[in-house]
Amino acid sequence: MLVDLSHRARWDVQDGAIDELRPFGVAVPRDPGDVAIASGLMINRMNRTQASVWHIGPGPTPATPDDVAVTDTTDANAWIAIVGDAVAGVMEHVTSLDLFEPGRSLPRLIQGPVLGVPCQVVVGSRTGALLTFARGYAQTFADALLDSAAPAGLGTGGERVFSEHVAAMARGG
């Protein structure tokens, strides 16, 4: 199922000494591609100096810290989740990224094009993937995704589907 999470808070963290920062009291993962989950937040290391932070819950949205390195990017991009048993089949229709390479530890951040749109993709498990991309693409991206992946059974779902997925991730499922 496709779930719209665009209303949930997201931030960008950038600093030359990002490894020393603890935005929201959480350590930034060390290597690009690494993902950490703590305190209802998902922190994705993007590159040498940058990480994205997503509020996956449960729990209330934390306030943006008064830190020059942290910028609220909630309005900057769209955020969707694709949840269900056929996630791999869905994503095969829209991206050449090797999202489910065997042996890769999950969750994992992969950056690249989906439907030709630059995306951050966090693969949480074989049953869930989270994508953020520039806000302007939201409507046409969703339309194209639903159309392309309809043969794989993609439909729309509400936020509860996502919450249940997050809970399953926390249990290690």
Partner: protein, 979 residues
């Protein structure tokens, strides 16, 4: 036509009859038939007419190897009859035919071949020039095969695409390919297997063994067992009906997949990124070249064999063979076992046949003639008989028949290997080109290596699979060594026949090397005589292999033919390069779902509701007009006299911060960015290394080492990379964040702009408190924060408000309501474009291009010449161009002819010489005349100069006159901006 007794190899369902039409007449076949097998079974022999000579053509192959079997299906031309499954209600028609395909009105062209030698169109019908134009148009009208009428061809159907990743991509689902897939999967790798036919098995699928009984040890049983094994292995993804179209860089394999009626799409494009590739594409039948070898009724051995076994159709009443390999002999025996009359089998090999096959042929009563081959077909429209002749001898015999099965042995199907970068060399042992070298991470197996023994074929498959897995890092050293040993014990490729042409073909006027373009042996001789004496040149001059069949029919034969004609050994020549697509995909499949994924602003729906007419602007769709009047006269007037609103949200917006943020700004911008001060917009431009302006915008300090800056919407996507690229060696500590989509931008412009804004904010907007180029953060409405800039792109008092994207509609509605009684209206990109042109404000790409620098377009005042320490991008080029003569300059134009406005892009001429061009022209209501901006040679840039403008759509003699004026037409002193 006779349907043969059922066998276990049958792939049709005789309980499900399908009706279709052929050239308007009702026909029938069965589910599982291809169009070709259904046509053949219903007695159709002539499928169409050839490209040049309009010769009758029929069923030569069942793999889509050439144009002979291309037909029109349901109005869609150039469909492969041999590979398209029959569907109920299909309307199939012949191509390149005037009238009935058996008696085509242009069939007389076949007798004019003497006047159409190789490459004749390069040398004849060129003079007189006036007549040449007429003749060439007539030739073009006749050229081609199928005709596409988009008004009647119907919906191409849904197309899909799928992107795969694998450790090992196996191309070819025959025995070798299946073994490779199993071996690679067994070693723990991810495998994708692609097979062009609807089923796995390759040659095994229709071979029931010499007894014809399909016992448990038959080739077919073995193939089925392997296919089941592959199908049950979850580590192998199998794609059938999925031909490969190409192999590209970094082991990207592409293809398309045809599906059945029950699937939600018609066809889909697939791509597979693999770490390694195994090519097991098998071998094609190398055609034998003899006189009239293109007649309907001449076919490959596999064609006759599969007609009989796969589709249950007798290939003919009397079939004569001219073979070159043991598989052809086996095919003959199988047809005999089915009751087909095979009176004679010529084998071009003087010796080396499988003794058991020879023995069984003798028992059958068919006559085996070794060292013989076909020389000439008898029959004008279809095969009526064939002359066989002794190779190197003088004996010839004629046999009445209605089908001639002919090949000169097998040649490796090199298409995929060639695309992957493999090299080939001619082998006198096999008589064809063999693999000489492979790129790393590409492996080959099976018949593509020239092998014929089934044990060896499978062994090479296993070896290739293990080698591919090993290249992916799998631990297979033990099994790999054993596999190598097994392959080493094999006998290798057997000897083949090296002949290309049958005996006694004379000059070969109608002995075809290439069916697609009617290329004959005589044409090849003509090419050599004219100096096009190597395969690469003969291919292009003589049109060998330039048709849909590409390398398959003419392929290696052209190279070997040129060698023979030139009296050189075949080892001296190389077969030509195969290029994608190996098998032609349909354009609809390449286009794919064709979703229009684009960006929309947060105000898109609002703009649409207000009547916005949208156009694509880079990645965005934006409202260009708000009425049916595309001159936007009223939109412009309202801004000039009143107040308007523009959604400028695609504007690039960025935050840059850090200890070296200013360093980075100094590098990338051409101005002295130290002069950027709090509360002020510092306007500047970015240049590239050749001094061209690539972007412009404003930079605003918002904190310590913290800046907010804007760019053009088109460049926003590459701004971060631009900064990082031009500072990559400096080790500077700064951060960049793209906020383009995070903030919406609304432009409020016009003499009443201040009055409107005052109604939504309590900030001091007086000219003293908020002057032109000022920057303030102001609250609007219920305290929504807006970053507000006082700019003037359109030449009027204007404010640009940047608010969080989620607040965009709220802010727009506030301004709209506030301006309602003042007559506020939206304006679009075209109105903005016109108004900024009236001001002489340059738009990058409209009044700038590769040949003009910052200086040429009058923006040199931005350049901080004194700063060399920052190594500003583009500064060295500007210094070099500063004193250069002969450069283009940007000028303003006043169009002298009130009755005609030159188009954007019209040429400025000096006699017959080009002296520049018109970038933009518009009609201005505010100015009362037609104006424009142009780039002209410096000699024509003097104010008052009269320019002559040429437009290609007008008469050659007509010119439009314009006068050079300063490029700032409207409010040149900028007083309206500063009010």
């Amino acid at each position: 036509m006779t349907r043969l007794p059922r066998s276990s190899a049958l792939r049709i369902d005789t309980d499900r009859r399908l009706r279709f039409s052929w050239c308007g007449s009702a026909r029938a076949g069965y589910e599982g038939d291809t169009v070709a097998s259904a046509l053949w079974s219903s007695g159709v022999r002539t499928f169409g007419r050839s490209f040049e000579y309009h010769r009758p053509r029929g069923l030569y192959d069942l793999e889509g190897e050439g144009a002979s079997q291309l037909v029109s299906i349901d109005g869609v031309p150039n469909q492969s009859a041999g590979t398209t499954l029959l569907r109920e209600g299909m309307a199939v028609a012949a191509q390149n035919v005037r009238g009935d395909p058996r008696s085509d009105a242009f069939g007389f062209l076949d007798r004019l071949d003497r006047w159409m030698p190789a490459g004749f169109y390069y040398r004849v019908f060129h003079r007189p020039h006036a007549a040449a134009h007429f003749v060439h148009n007539r030739m073009r009208a006749m050229a081609g095969l199928g005709i596409l009428d988009v008004s009647t061809s119907g919906d191409p159907g849904r197309r899909e695409e799928i992107f795969l990743n694998a450790d090992v991509a196996v191309i070819g689902g025959g025995a070798a390919g299946m073994r490779a897939a199993l071996a690679a999967a067994g070693a723990g790798t991810r495998v994708c297997l692609f097979e062009r036919r609807p089923w796995l098995g390759g040659h095994l699928d229709w071979r029931l063994g010499l007894e014809g009984a399909d016992g448990p040890d038959s080739p077919r049983a073995r193939g089925r067992a392997l296919a089941e094994h592959v199908g049950s292995d979850a580590r192998i993804r199998v794609f059938t009906s999925a031909p490969v179209t190409g192999i590209w860089g970094e082991n990207l394999v592409t293809g398309f997949q045809r599906v059945g009626a029950a699937d939600p799409f018609v066809e889909r494009h697939w791509e597979c990124r693999a770490r390694t590739i195994v090519v097991a594409t098998g071998a094609l039948e190398r055609p034998l070249v003899f006189n009239h070898n293109d007649r309907p009724g001449v076919m490959q051995a596999d064609t006759a064999w599969r007609l009989a076994r796969t589709y249950g159709v007798s290939p003919g009443a009397v079939v004569v063979f001219s073979a070159g390999d043991d598989l052809a002999l086996e095919a003959a025996l199988d047809l005999l076992s089915l009751g087909v009359d095979v009176p004679a089998i010529a084998d071009s090999r003087p010796e080396g046949q499988d003794p058991e096959l020879v023995s069984r042929i003798a028992e059958s009563g068919a006559e085996l003639l070794t060292g013989w081959a076909a020389s000439q077909v008898v029959g004008r429209r279809v095969v009526r008989g064939v002359q066989l002749a002794e190779i190197g001898g003088s004996t010839r015999r004629e046999f009445p028949c209605d089908v001639v099965v002919a090949n000169a042995g097998r040649q490796p199907d090199i298409g995929a290997l060639s695309c992957a970068g493999a090299r080939f060399r001619h082998s006198t042992h096999t008589g064809s080109f063999e693999l000489a070298s492979l790129p790393s991470d590409v492996f080959a197996a099976g018949r593509v290596l020239g092998l014929t023994d089934s044990v060896e074929i499978e062994a090479t498959g296993t070896l290739a699979g293990l080698e591919a897995a090993s290249a992916c890092g799998a631990s297979v050293s033990g099994t790999l060594a054993a596999a190598r040993a097994e392959v080493a014990e094999g006998a290798g490729a057997p000897p083949g026949t090296g002949i290309v042409r049958g005996p006694d073909i004379g000059e070969g006027r109608k002995a075809f090397l290439d069916y697609d373009e009617d290329g004959t042996w005589k044409n090849a001789v003509q090419c050599a005589a004219l100096g096009f004496d190597v395969p690469e040149l003969a291919k292009r001059f003589g049109n060998f292999g330039l048709g849909p069949g590409q390398y398959r029919v003419p392929g290696q034969n052209v190279a070997m033919a040129m060698a023979e004609i030139e009296g050189r050994p075949a080892s001296d020549v190389a077969s030509t390069t195969v290029r994608p697509p190996i098998i032609p995909p349909s354009l609809a499949t390449l286009a794919g779902p064709n979703h229009d994924v684009h960006k929309r602003t947060p105000l898109h729906e609002d703009q649409a509701a207000r009547g916005g007419v949208f156009r694509r602007a880079g990645a965005w769709k934006r409202a260009r007009y708000f009425s049916a009047d595309y001159t936007c006269r009223e939109e412009i007037r309202n801004v000039r006299e009143n107040v308007g609103l523009l959604d400028s949200s695609p504007l690039g917006k960025f935050r840059i911060w850090g200890p070296h943020a200013l360093h980075a700004l100094q590098r990338v911008y051409i101005s002295d960015m130290r002069k950027a001060t709090r509360g002020r917009c510092k306007y500047s431009a970015m240049c590239n290394d050749t001094g061209n302006v690539v972007d412009d915008g404003v930079v605003i300090p918002v904190g310590e080492d913290d800046y907010y800056f804007t760019t053009s919407s088109n460049r926003a996507g590459s701004t971060v990379e631009w900064f990082r690229y031009h500072t990559r060696y400096d080790g500077w500590d700064y951060n960049l964040l793209n906020l383009t989509d995070a903030l919406a931008s609304i432009n409020l412009a016009g003499p009443e702009a201040r009055a409107v804004l005052e109604r939504v904010t309590d900030a001091d907007l007086s000219n003293d408190a908020f002057p032109y180029l000022g920057y303030r953060v102001i609250p609007v409405g219920d305290g929504v924060e807006a970053r507000c800039m006082r700019l003037g792109f359109v030449g009027e008092l204007s404010y640009e408000l940047h608010v969080g994207a989620s607040y965009a509609q709220y802010a727009w509605d506030l301004l709209w309501d506030a301006g309602a009684e003042l007559g506020i209206r939206p304006f679009g990109l075209e109105a903005q474009y016109c108004m900024r042109a009236e001001k002489g404000h340059v738009i990058i790409g409209a009044e700038s291009e590769q040949r003009v620098t910052l200086l040429d377009i009058g923006m040199g005042w931005l350049w901080d010449r004194s700063d060399t320490a920052s190594k500003k991008v583009g500064a060295p080029a500007l210094r070099a161009c500063e004193e250069q003569d002969g450069r283009l300059e940007l000028v303003g134009l006043r169009i002298d002819d009130a009755g005609h406005r030159p188009e954007d892009g019209a040429i400025v001429v000096d006699g017959d010489r080009i002296a520049g061009y018109v970038c933009t022209t518009r009609v201005s209501g505010a100015l009362g005349y037609q104006y424009g901006l142009a780039l002209v040679e410096e000699g024509f840039a003097v104010e008052g100069t009269t320019l002559s403008i040429y437009e290609h759509l007008r008469s050659d003699d007509v010119r439009t006159s314009a006068t050079v004026v300063p490029p700032h037409f409207y409010d040149p002193k900028g007083e309206r901006l500063r009010v």
